[in-house]
Subunit: 331 residues, 2 copies
Amino acid sequence: MSSGAREQVQTLLENAGRVLVVAHIEPDGDAIGSALGLAWALRRRGTRVTLACAHPVPASLLFLPGSDAFVARWRQDEDVVVVVDTSDTARIGAIYPDDGRGAAPLVVIDHHITNLRYGDVNWVLERASTCELVLDLISAMGIPLDATIATCLLTGLVTDTRGFRTRSTNADALRAAVTLMEAGASLGDIMEAVFRSRTLPMLRTWGAALSDARLEDGVIWVEVSQEDLRRIGAEPSAADGLSNLLSTVRDAEVAAVFREVRPGVVDVSLRSTPRVDVAAVALSLGGGGHRQAAGCLLEAPLPRAREMVLSALRLAMAEGNGTRMNADRAD
Amino acid sequence: MSSGAREQVQTLLENAGRVLVVAHIEPDGDAIGSALGLAWALRRRGTRVTLACAHPVPASLLFLPGSDAFVARWRQDEDVVVVVDTSDTARIGAIYPDDGRGAAPLVVIDHHITNLRYGDVNWVLERASTCELVLDLISAMGIPLDATIATCLLTGLVTDTRGFRTRSTNADALRAAVTLMEAGASLGDIMEAVFRSRTLPMLRTWGAALSDARLEDGVIWVEVSQEDLRRIGAEPSAADGLSNLLSTVRDAEVAAVFREVRPGVVDVSLRSTPRVDVAAVALSLGGGGHRQAAGCLLEAPLPRAREMVLSALRLAMAEGNGTRMNADRAD
């Protein structure tokens, strides 16, 4: 059936003169990379392609060719709309029309198995990145890869696997990376563009947080207060990446970053080993995410927010232990 | 000629009943991984293999099968000695005999092109890791890969490329990774074992250093004093990895970590973009290393050591600019 979906996508795109390719809000490398890779490939065969996203492309992705051409609108006269890497219409954001999506066929290409299949054709397959699906599609359509297409697609593969570090990085993902490098993508340039993007205020913010890092009952956590940010002269985004760093601590099963985005509002970022489901914890606090990477936004002073989350985590980890013990018994 | 060297290595190993495989001092993942991968492969065809290293295997590599069996001795009755990943005999360390290496043939397998070719057979090829050479050798010898061999070799490939992030990570390196994953190596397990090895004192040490990070004239630097380490309760090794983190700062061409290993003795770790040669700077101060990753040990108080290095770096970067300008003119 998935292969059927891919063939339907192919037929729709081969018969379209104009295509709108849409990336999700808060776009990441896989959203922008897969949208651009598909756009450049379709243009090679004469299709007119417009790229859309409700939010601006982040600075760290502006090295990608064509990344400055995203517009914040829905379909005008395009024959087909393709939404990439986007599991539900809420993630399309404000450009998604209130009165329905209109007459043109809506194609969804996504690697999130939680995708709500809101398109006319939904090609959803579990892969490390949506870019790998786009690579398969381009190959099926017989469009030759070039360095531009390959750079866009390899960027999405690299970012969605955090540089091949996620558990989703399987042999297929590396095989796709080889294909893209052979087509002219520079892995070194992409790694540098994507990961060499930190700033001095960011590292000083990490310093303030890490100086006071705590580890208790398998949970490592740090706090970034408004006062820290003001003193350092940093934005709240300076704490981005801290939870990934904390999750490299051997003795921690869960990593938590409490970031005071404004007085009385705390952004919570959680990471975990496969044993603990932090998505469930985040959900119970009004947030969401993946089992091993989730978050929520709490309206509470920093100490109160911290205690709420740590209590919920302790409970989840105790339950996790119970589940594991039962599973062990069942073996 | 390189292929000739590989064939000579193969012939020597196929005719040896006993082999000593030697890794370098301060062993890293590529040294231990390539030694173990070769050992397990030779054992599959009945060869008796002993593993040697002058220094203990680091804790982060003890997950590798057989890593607890390294001994600190040179050849006894082995027919052939193979030294892996080791560019000169000084890096073999104290186990290398003062009175010469003895009667058995000495085979050198290494990916450092600076290798001094001190063996009877020297198979030296530029690759991202020595493990890739061992993989080629095993394949040429017709020894089937298994999960044990593959795990050892993929670990070396992953560590020497810092998780596929170095410029040396080419399509061949990723292709080797695919082969090793298909043979049963778990990239996720290796990434976790190798990179999820930090501790709370380590992150607190980073915190103290990063809180006071400085960036001037393209050089970002931090200091780790004996006082910091004492207060936190950390070893000097807690600063390992800090220079790699600093090198992710966009506006820095050079990253420097000044670590007071004992009062009056400062270990300096340097990282740079391709434009700046920090090996030359380290060499001028009695140290050494690679163009983009080097270091030295200075007998001086922390502030004096810092000024010595920063002056040398400023000079090197000014010269680098000059060279580049001349090169630009010559284009």
